[in-house]
């Protein structure tokens, strides 16, 4: 099979065999769900419910007037017991709505499935926004914003991202196997919304069954092509995927619309399909619970707001004491200090790693081996940027384009000195942005 790819990148072990043959399951609901009101990139939502009020499945509980934002819906039926800042999977606390689960928990569409061909473009975007759909790959960028490209930049290609290049995660793989029709439907809707002609579905060759299934379904559609891609991290990163599939390079600091491309994750495609045809809000998502410490690794369809501790309980708990529990994939995810945090729209997995897999070696000075330079998919010089950031020379770090780093972690993965390069870059980026705000 001819495979396309980008330059740079790494080949971490995949560890996907634990869950890639397990169908997506549902689990029992927890007693309480915690729904943060800021699960997306952009403006936070303000609560639309009060403490004591009862809510139904799919009811809007938070919204914002800002364009770059997405409403938040209740994932369960019950009543609101608290609205307060609670721990969130990254950094600090986020204003969250706590809902006590009670009553009938089934969501029923109040409309017959619509045919997207009869819906005009503006209504598609509205439906996507109202359903609170955001990118489910991890960054949680509001999808309706992506479906509204600038007028002067026509988009010709929609790329559906089925790479799933992060080790361990298999949720996108399962979505492609189990719901290929919905993926294709979502791709068609996205294609109509941005006025593109071609659809590409990029899948890494370590998922031959998904490639076969998608090829069968996509073959019946016009101008839709499944593109097998080399197994390499970070193949599923937006800019790298565009390079691999279309051989176009997104200029630094610009968006994919600059080169006429739109990238959507397969999970997002399904969410778009459900939002537009059924009016279904994004209140549940598929994620992978895996790692050597999980007793029964699973692919699960989980209501947003379910506490991680409950999810782990439903997977049989820990088989051995974990050293690190990560939300998201092991490369770009966030290590957690508490299991009370809820699953949110951007959570693609929960990975529990044992002591033996967590490096605690001290980091050292750069030995100038240049491995990070070869690994960097953005062609940056992580060695220099890291040293400048370490010396608090942020001006120089900015000159070496630290702002183009999207924190894939390939450099830190290959570093023989175990330098915490991504942390250096994150710190430098935050400092540079703070200085710009002050200026």
């Amino acid at each position: 099979m001819a495979t396309r790819t980008f330059a740079g990148g790494i080949h971490p072990p995949e560890y996907k065999e634990q869950t890639n043959s397990l169908p997506v399951e549902q689990i029992d609901l927890p007693q309480q769900v915690i729904i943060p009101l800021h699960q997306h990139t952009g403006a936070p939502c303000t609560p639309k419910v009060n403490v004591g009020e009862s809510v139904t499945v799919g009811q809007v509980i938070g919204d914002s007037d800002a364009f770059i934002s997405a409403p938040v819906h209740s994932s369960v039926a019950g009543h609101v017991v608290a609205i307060e800042p609670l721990p969130y999977f990254n950094n600090t606390r986020v204003l969250s709505v706590v809902i006590e689960v009670e009553g009938d928990q089934v969501w029923v569409p109040d409309q017959d499935p619509l045919d997207y061909r009869d819906i005009n473009v503006e209504d598609i975007r509205q439906a996507v926004r109202q359903a609170g759909v955001v990118g489910l790959g991890g960054a949680a960028f509001p999808t309706h914003v992506k479906l509204t490209p600038p007028k002067n930049k026509p988009i010709d290609s929609v790329i559906i991202n089925g790479c799933e290049c992060e080790p361990y995660l298999t949720c996108d793989h399962r979505i492609m196997l189990e719901r290929p029709q919905d993926v294709v439907l979502g791709a068609n809707i996205a294609r109509k919304a941005v006025g593109a002609s071609k659809v590409y579905i990029g899948i890494e060759t370590n998922k031959p069954d998904a490639i076969r299934v998608m090829q069968e379904v996509a073959g019946e559609e016009q101008d839709m092509e499944v593109v097998p891609l080399e197994v390499k991290y970070p193949e599923g990163a937006e800019k790298q995927l565009i390079k691999a599939v279309l051989d176009r390079r997104v200029p630094p600091g610009k968006l994919p619309s600059e080169v006429g491309a739109l990238v959507q994750n397969v999970g997002t495609a399904v969410a778009i399909a459900e939002a537009v045809t059924l009016g279904k809000p994004l209140f549940e998502r598929v994620l992978t619970v895996t790692g050597p410490c999980i007793a029964q690794p699973k692919n699960l369809k989980i209501r947003i707001g379910t506490p991680v501790s409950h999810v782990l309980e439903q997977c049989g708990g820990f088989s051995q004491t974990p050293r690190k529990v990560i939300m998201g994939g092991p490369m770009t995810g966030w290590a957690q200090s508490s299991l009370d945090v809820p699953v949110v729209k951007g959570t693609s997995g929960i990975v529990a790693l044992p002591e033996s897999m967590v490096s605690e070696a001290k980091w050292h000075n750069c030995v100038r081996c240049g491995k990070c330079v070869k690994a960097c998919p953005m062609f940056l010089l992580p060695n220099f940027i890291g040293m400048y950031a370490e010396a608090h020379n942020y001006d120089k770090a900015e000159k070496f384009d630290v702002l183009d780093c999207f924190e894939c972690g390939a450099c830190a993965y290959v570093c023989p000195s175990r330098r915490p390069l991504v942390q250096f870059f994150r710190n430098a980026k935050a400092e540079i942005m703070a200085r710009r705000r002050r200026a």
Binding site: N91, S337, H392, R426
Partner: protein
């Protein structure tokens, strides 16, 4: 030998002459006041005034862009010297120099860590991790020394307990540390005020009690103890109104968690509490 001496002397004379000519021909007129003002300034280039360094501030003062009291670090002494240079008639008012305080006393022994942190030794980097850092308290001092590195006067150090501490005698009130602290727990206070609520946690008392032995639990004992209406609890945190405070220290005596510290009692008392 003689040849060498003569040639060197000629070369020296020619270049010396050229330099002397250039110095007069291309001389940039400098206001002599600028030089004098610069001498009156502390010369630390700390940037507290908002200018790039002392030279730029001296320039701005000489041209009348800012008042002669613009340097906080130099304080009244510098302002008076500058007033002399500028020939100002009126007497410069005595202005109190502020001093920085770290509003947290929950060190390693009082407030534990939620997880081990082995990343880069920088508070800003650590505060970007889950939960706002590795300490139990999301508002507390991380003790990785970002403020220590920012201080141009060497007035901050990290004590054995993992806490940033300001040496009042060295602090000049430039507020560089205030700007870099990601937890916003370093604040300026009037130098004459000696009683401070050294806690920044705005969570409810019950939560604070669980995670820190010396956190403010918003019990309001201090509010009751104060005869001058100078201490109030807002957002579950006691704060002193420094304009009303008289340094009586009653609140510090009543504080059950000892997060109110009376610096008049001296170092030994502080250690004991």
């Amino acid at each position: 030998m003689l040849q060498a001496i003569i040639s060197m002397a000629v070369v020296g004379a020619v270049f010396g002459g050229l330099l002397g000519f250039a110095a007069q021909k291309f001389a940039v007129p400098v206001d002599p006041k600028v030089e004098q003002i610069k001498r009156a300034l502390p010369g630390a280039n700390c940037g507290a005034c908002g200018f790039v360094g002392c030279s730029e501030l001296a320039d701005a003062i000489a041209t009348g862009k800012v008042a002669h009291t613009a340097c906080t670090v130099g304080g009244t002494t510098a302002a008076r010297d500058i007033a002399k240079v500028l020939g100002l008639e009126e007497e410069t008012e005595e202005k109190e120099q502020p001093v920085a305080h770290v509003y947290c006393v929950g060190g390693r022994t009082e407030c534990g860590n939620r997880y081990e942190y082995d990343g880069i030794p920088d508070c800003r980097a650590a505060s970007m991790l889950q939960g706002g850092g590795f300490r139990e308290c999301a508002h507390g001092c991380l003790g990785l020394g970002t403020c220590v590195r920012a201080c141009p006067f060497g007035a901050i150090y990290i004590d054995k307990n993992g806490l940033a501490v300001v040496d009042e005698t060295k602090c000049t009130g430039c507020a560089r540390c205030v700007a870099v602290c990601p937890k916003n727990i370093i604040q300026m206070a009037p130098r004459s005020r000696k009683v401070h609520v050294l806690c920044s946690n705005t969570e409810k008392g019950a939560v604070v009690r669980k995670i820190c032995k010396v956190g403010c639990i918003a019990c309001k004992a201090c509010v009751k103890a104060c005869q001058y209406d100078a201490i109030h609890v807002e957002d579950n945190l006691a704060r002193i109104d420094y304009e009303k405070c008289t340094n009586c220290g009653e609140c510090a005596k009543k504080c059950p968690t000892k997060c109110i510290v009376d610096f008049q009692l001296g170092a030994e008392a502080k250690q004991a509490s």
